[in-house]
């Protein structure tokens, strides 16, 4: 990858990061969109798609309720895609094992996103005071400016998260991947399914539907039987 690619990925990180809370919220921040988008600007949408699928399923049931800040699934998606695309040829790896390794490394690093997000919102605490004061003294133009400044702190927090995931992730991937790649190849498919299962399970465990378990079991068994007997 060349420098231009990284800059583009950074732009995607900021745009999708803004979509999480601050701007528009048309859900380009969901892993299912953010990861293929990142893959697309880097010239490999399919890798992004695979990253996006795994992460989307994993975090399907997570709700951003109230003031609680979730781990940054958007930047995990963007970061994991950048890792998978950029480290592939360096490590002579490709396909699902690479995607899985990148995702597994990026997920814990997503915790940094919470830290930066919290920081951005605290910066906005000060902006909000300045904005409120500006409004009370009657200068509406500067009130609007203060409000929009908030976008900058959210964008920077997203960018910082993506950069950390990619930097630390590359480091880890470069040194750890050779040790584990055999095991990942062996366990590849079951690793992929385990992520899917965890996603399905956390959705079922937290959704507020009374009969969620029975509905799930019925649908699962039904589909299995249909596919099996077909």
């Amino acid at each position: 990858m060349v420098v231009g690619d990284y800059l583009l990925a950074g732009l995607v990180a900021m745009l999708t990061g803004l979509d999480r809370v601050a701007l528009v919220q048309i859900m380009i921040s969901r892993p299912l969109v953010a990861a293929p988008l990142t893959g697309w600007v880097l010239g490999n949408p399919m890798v992004g798609m695979e990253v996006g699928m795994l992460l989307e399923l994993l975090w399907l049931g997570r709700l951003p309720v109230g003031a609680a800040i979730p781990p940054d699934d958007t930047q995990v998606a963007v970061g994991a895609t950048v890792l998978a695309v950029s480290m592939g040829h360096l490590l002579d790896l490709n396909g699902m094992p690479l995607v899985i390794l990148s995702v597994l490394i990026a997920i814990p690093l997503g915790k940094f996103g919470q830290v930066f997000d919290r920081l951005a919102r605290h910066v906005n605490d000060r902006l909000a005071v300045s904005g409120h004061n500006a409004l009370m003294t009657g200068s509406i133009d500067s009130f609007e400016r203060y409000h929009l400044f908030g976008l900058a702190s959210f964008a920077l927090a997203s960018l910082a998260t993506a950069v950390i995931i990619v930097l630390l992730g590359s480091f880890v991937l470069y040194f750890v991947a050779p040790l584990f790649i055999g095991a990942v190849r062996e366990a590849g498919l079951s690793l992929q399914y385990s992520l899917i299962l965890v996603g399905a399970a956390s959705l079922l465990g937290t959704i507020n539907v009374n009969r969620s378990i029975s509905l799930f079991c019925a649908a699962f068994t039904g589909t299995m039987l249909v596919l099996w007997l077909r």
């Binding site: 601050a22 701007l23 528009v24 919220q25 048309i26 859900m27 969901r30 299912l32 969109v33 988008l37 798609m49 699928m53 989307e56 399907l60 709700l63 309720v65 003031a67 597994l104 997920i107 814990p108 919102r121 906005n124 605490d125 902006l127 909000a128 409120h132 409004l135 009370m136 009130f143 409000h147 400044f149 908030g150 055999g182 095991a183 990942v184 498919l189 690793l191 385990s194 992520l195 899917i196 299962l197 996603g199 399905a200 399970a201 956390s202 959705l203 079922l204 465990g205 959704i207 507020n208 009969r211 969620s212 378990i213 509905l215 799930f216 079991c217 019925a218 649908a219 699962f220 596919l227």
Partner: protein, 250 residues
């Protein structure tokens, strides 16, 4: 005094501004600046350039609701403001109205959009993605955003036209029950998706499909753990490390 009417151009500006509601989201007063920013075009039309200090004060205070429901609140708030300066006394004033509706509307939005429509749209996207199609993200975006973008616009107009009665209209729609129907569909679809992926996996490994059923107890165990508050991050680390260990050993 004749009641001031807001033009469609002002509604359009408020609609567009609603996409910036949370630009300065902060821990202290949450969407306070955002809400004032949202209704500013309307307030300027009602009060002119000199918006009275008490109006500025009351609409730049603690505010937090679901972002997609904010246009509805903005519509009613502006209508109540116009009513009160034209001398009519609405049953509830604008400030009280805001404080009363923001939390319940937030709950409705969380249930409908975050809990209902989004997972369902994402799952349909995932089913398409599992076929290897790159259309999946686009399908997800369209399925989610059609109701989303419409809802913002309808909410704004409904809130303005029907003022306090807009809540009755919303109540008649039984959105929380709709959300539950959507969530039920989601649980069914996730069962279908899991079974499909398990079947494909078994085929790929040339195993009998009966092995796919092994997934079921595992999912149920994990669901129970998730219900007990175990985070998905922990579950991921647990399963992957044990799988990797198994692969290293054998």
């Amino acid at each position: 005094m004749k009641e001031i009417r807001l033009s469609w151009l002002i509604f359009l500006r408020i609609y567009l501004r609603s996409f910036l509601l949370q630009a300065s989201w902060n821990f202290d007063k949450l969407q306070n600046l955002g809400f004032f920013y949202l209704i500013l075009p309307g307030l300027r039309h009602i009060y002119g350039e000199q918006i009275p200090v008490d109006v500025r004060q009351r609409h730049c205070d603690y505010f937090n609701t679901h972002p997609y429901f904010a246009p509805l609140v903005a519509g009613t708030t502006l209508r109540l403001e116009t009513l009160s300066i034209s001398g009519e006394e609405p049953a509830v004033d604008a400030e009280t109205y805001k404080n009363m509706v923001m939390a319940p509307l937030a709950a409705m939005g969380d249930a409908l959009f975050w809990g209902g429509i989004r997972p369902l749209a994402a799952l349909i996207g995932l089913l398409i993605a599992s076929q290897g199609s790159l259309w999946a993200p686009l399908v997800f975006l369209v399925l989610f955003n059609l109701p989303h973008l419409l809802f913002r616009g309808i909410g704004l107009v409904l809130g303005y036209v029907q003022e306090l009665r807009a809540i009755e209209t919303i109540q008649k729609c039984r959105l929380p029950d709709l959300a539950i129907r959507l969530k039920e569909s989601t649980t069914v679809l996730i069962g279908v998706l899991c079974a499909y992926l398990a079947f494909k996996g078994c085929e790929h490994q040339e195993l009998s499909a009966i092995w796919g059923f092994v997934q079921l107890p595992i999912v149920l165990l994990f669901a129970w753990l998730a219900h007990k508050g175990v985070t998905s991050l922990f579950l991921v680390l647990l399963t992957t490390s044990s799988l990797l260990l198994l692969a290293l050993l054998f």
